[in-house]
Symmetry: C2
Subunit: 395 residues, 2 copies
C-alpha cells in the first residue's frame, strides 16, 4: 500500500529526528543542553493557568470556528497598542501559528503556485508547503551580510507568473534579524507592483532588542488587501502547548475563505483561549522582564560565541535564535556526533542543523541554529562546551 | 486580489450558516431548540476538568507531535478492552477527529485522487476533500432502505484507477446506522481485492443501541495494512472543545507519514490530553449512563417523529442523529423559515438541512439531520413544534 506523493515529499522535522540520540545520551548519564528548540524555559504567566482553572462551564462545548469573541477583542486591543487598527471580523483564532500558516497557504495558493521565501526560514514552512502543494522559491541570504534582504530588483528576479505571495518572518526565526522599515517598504513596493500577497509571520513581535522598532506588515501603506499576518501566543506567553495562534487580514475575501477552512475543523481549543485573553490583558506585568531576560542571554551568547575560532554569526536583533556558520562541512553529522560520541565533564549540547531551514538543496550544511532559551550560567556552559567540541571534532 | 481555487471550492458549513438567523430569533425573544448540531448537552466528566486543573508544570511546553505517551497508552488499553490489539507506535493523538481525517487524506491521496463515500455523510468530509484536492465519489444510500450499504458489485462500480480509499463512519453521522459485521466484511473484501485503504471514522463507537455490537475496521482480517481508524473524544466524553482526536493504523508507513504532518504543526494541545487520559481511565463510571440517556432520547425522537404525517426516517441504531425526509421540496428554505417566520408559543426549532451531507448535486434537498442532544421534555416539545411548523409551512 503506497502512501501519497505529498506524504513522501513531506520533510521530517530536522530538529526532532536527533531526539532519539539525545535520549540515548541522557540514558548514558550525559547532561544535554538543549540549544536546538524554540521552547522557552520562561514560566507561563500565572494568569494563563488561573483563567484556565476558572472555566466552569459544565460542558466543554465547541467554540466558534473563528475563536471566542473575548479573545478576538483582546487581539484587537493588543494590536491597537501598536497603532494597528483592525475590525473584529479581521482576526480569526487558529490552532497555533501553524494553522495560521496552513490557512494562509490554502486560501491564497493552489498546488503548483509559488511563494517566495528568504532562506534560511522557519523550517515548518517547508512542511506546510509540501502538505499544500505550494512551491517555496527561496532567495538565499547570507550570514556575511547579516541576513539582510537584497534590493528590490534582485527580489523581483524571482517572481514568475505562478508567484502568489512573499512569506516573511520578522523578528526572524532562525536568523534573529528584524526587518528594517526600509526593507519592509521595499517588500510593500514589490507586492503592490506585482499584485502579490505578503504573508508576515510576526510571532516574535515583542522579542526585539537595542531599542529597535518592529514594523508590522499591517502598517504598510496601499497594500491593505494584500497583507496577511500570522501570529501565535506560544513564544509571547511561553505557552507553546496551548496551541493558540491567530491570523489577521483586512482582506474580507481572504478572511471569509479562511473561515470556511476553520469551519471544517470546527474550532480551536476552548479553555486555552481564555488563558490567552488573560495574558493579553496582563502583558504589562510580565512582558518587559521576559524580554530583558532574553536580551541578557543574547549578550552572553554573542560574547561566548565570539570566543570560538571559526564560528561566524550575526548579532541577533530579535527573537531568540541565531544562525551560526561552523568551521566544518556537515553540521548534521556534527550535531549527531555531539550526542553520540562527545561529552565534556558528562555534558554535551544539542543544536539544530540549519539545512532544514533552507529550501535550496545543499544550502546551510555548515550552519546550525542556536536558540538561547537557557538561563545565563547554563547558556555560558553550553557555548563553552560547543567550543570544546569544535576543537575535538575531526569530521 | 484573488483567493485560491481550492479556497473558492471550500463549502461553507451548512449548519453554521443558519446561525445568524437563530441569533436574530433569540433577540426577538423566541426560544430556539437546537436539533441542528452534534453538541451534546451531557456534562463533561468531572475527571476531565480535575486532570486539567492538576497540570502544575511551570511552563506549558510543546508536547510530542504524536501526543503524550500517557494518552497513547490509555488509547492502547481502551482499544484492548474491545479486543483490538495495537502497539504504542500505531496511534497518534491529533487535534480533534478533524485533524485525523486531514492527516489520513494527506497521507494516502494526492490532488485528483478519489475517495469513495456513502452519502449522506459527515459534512466536513466535503471540506477536507476540497482542502486537500481529493475528489469524493459518493454512493447514494436511501432512507427507504434504512441507509444500508449496497452489494459488493454495486460498490465496485464506483472504483476507478484514481480510487485510493473508501471512507466510512460507523456508527454513522448523520444517519445513525451502524454497519453490520456483514457490511464491514464486504467492505473488507472490496478494499482487499482492489488494494484500497479503508478509512473508518469510529468517533461514535460507544453510541450504539438495542444490544447491537460495533464492528471496528481494525478487526477485519487480512487488511491490517489498509485500515486507518479516525477517532475523537469529543462525543464520547462530551468534550468537543478539547480538540483531542486520534488516528490508528497498523501500517507503519502510513503512521510514519502522518507523524511528518504532525511534526509540521508541532503538537496537539497539551492540558486536554491529560483530561482525556483521566476520562479513558474512568469510562466505566459514566459511559453506561450516558448511553442510556441517549437511548431514552432516541426512543422519544422516533415516537414523536412517527406522529408527524409525511416524515420518513429510519430508526437510528447508533450515534445521536437521524436523517428525516420531510414533505417539502427545499429543507434549507424551511430551516431558514423556522427561524425567521415561525414560532409556536414563542418557541421554534433549528434543524440541519441535509444537502450539505451529500456530495451529489441536488441530493438530500428534502431531508434534514436531527440531533437528539436535548433532554427528553425539551426533545418532545421540539419535535411537537416541528410537526406544527410542517403543518403551517406553505413553501
Amino acid at each position: 500500500m503506497d502512501i501519497s506523493r505529498r506524504g513522501a515529499a513531506m520533510p521530517s522535522s530536522p530538529i526532532r529526528k536527533l531526539a532519539p540520540l539525545a535520549d540515548e545520551a541522557k540514558k548514558r548519564g550525559v547532561k544535554v543542553y538543549h540549544l536546538n528548540i524554540g521552547q522557552p524555559d520562561i514560566h507561563t504567566p500565572r494568569e494563563f493557568f488561573d483563567a484556565v482553572g476558572k472555566f466552569t462551564e459544565p460542558v466543554l462545548a465547541y467554540g466558534p470556528s473563528g475563536g471566542i469573541v473575548e479573545l478576538r477583542l483582546a487581539i484587537v486591543d493588543y494590536l491597537a497598542s501598536y497603532g494597528i487598527s483592525i475590525d473584529l471580523d479581521e482576526v480569526w483564532v487558529t490552532t497555533g501559528g501553524s494553522e495560521a500558516i496552513l490557512f494562509s497557504l490554502w486560501s491564497i495558493a493552489d498546488p503548483g503556485d509559488e511563494v517566495i521565501v528568504f532562506e534560511p526560514f522557519y523550517t515548518n514552512y517547508n512542511g506546510f508547503a509540501a502538505a499544500t502543494g505550494v512551491k517555496l522559491v527561496p532567495i538565499k541570504l547570507s550570514v556575511e551580510q547579516g541576513f539582510r534582504l537584497p534590493a528590490q530588483k534582485e527580489i523581483e528576479k524571482y517572481i514568475t507568473k505562478k508567484t502568489r505571495a512573499i512569506l516573511i518572518c520578522t523578528p526572524n526565526n532562525p536568523t534573529g534579524t528584524v526587518l528594517t522599515p526600509e526593507e519592509m517598504f521595499v517588500l510593500g513596493q514589490v507586492v503592490k507592483k506585482h499584485k502579490l500577497y505578503l504573508i508576515s509571520d510576526e510571532v516574535y513581535r515583542e522579542f526585539i532588542y537595542d531599542n529597535r522598532e518592529h514594523t508590522s506588515a499591517l502598517t504598510l501603506p496601499d497594500i491593505e488587501d494584500q497583507v496577511i499576518v500570522t501570529d501565535s501566543i506560544s513564544k509571547r506567553f511561553s505557552a507553546c502547548g496551548a496551541r493558540i495562534g491567530f491570523v489577521v487580514s483586512h482582506n474580507k475575501k481572504v478572511m471569509a475563505t479562511m473561515l470556511k477552512f476553520a469551519q471544517a475543523r470546527l474550532c480551536p481549543p476552548t479553555v486555552e483561549q481564555y488563558g490567552a485573553v488573560a495574558c493579553f490583558k496582563n502583558m504589562h506585568r510580565f512582558m518587559k522582564s521576559m524580554i530583558a531576560e532574553y536580551d541578557k542571554r543574547r549578550k552572553v551568547l554573542i560574547e561566548e560565541l565570539a570566543k570560538i575560532e571559526g564560528v561566524l554569526t550575526a548579532t541577533p536583533e530579535g527573537a531568540f535564535y541565531t544562525v551560526a556558520r561552523l568551521p566544518l562541512k556537515d553540521a548534521e553529522k556534527f550535531a549527531a556526533w555531539l550526542l553520540t560520541d562527545f561529552s565534556s565533564d558528562k555534558k554535551t549540547v544539542m543544536v539544530a542543523p540549519a539545512a532544514g531551514f533552507y529550501a535550496s538543496k545543499k544550502a546551510g550544511r555548515d550552519e546550525v541554529r542556536i536558540a538561547y532559551v537557557l538561563e545565563e550560567p547554563s547558556l555560558k556552559d553550553a557555548i563553552d562546551i560547543l567550543g570544546l567540541a569544535l576543537k575535538e571534532y575531526k569530521g
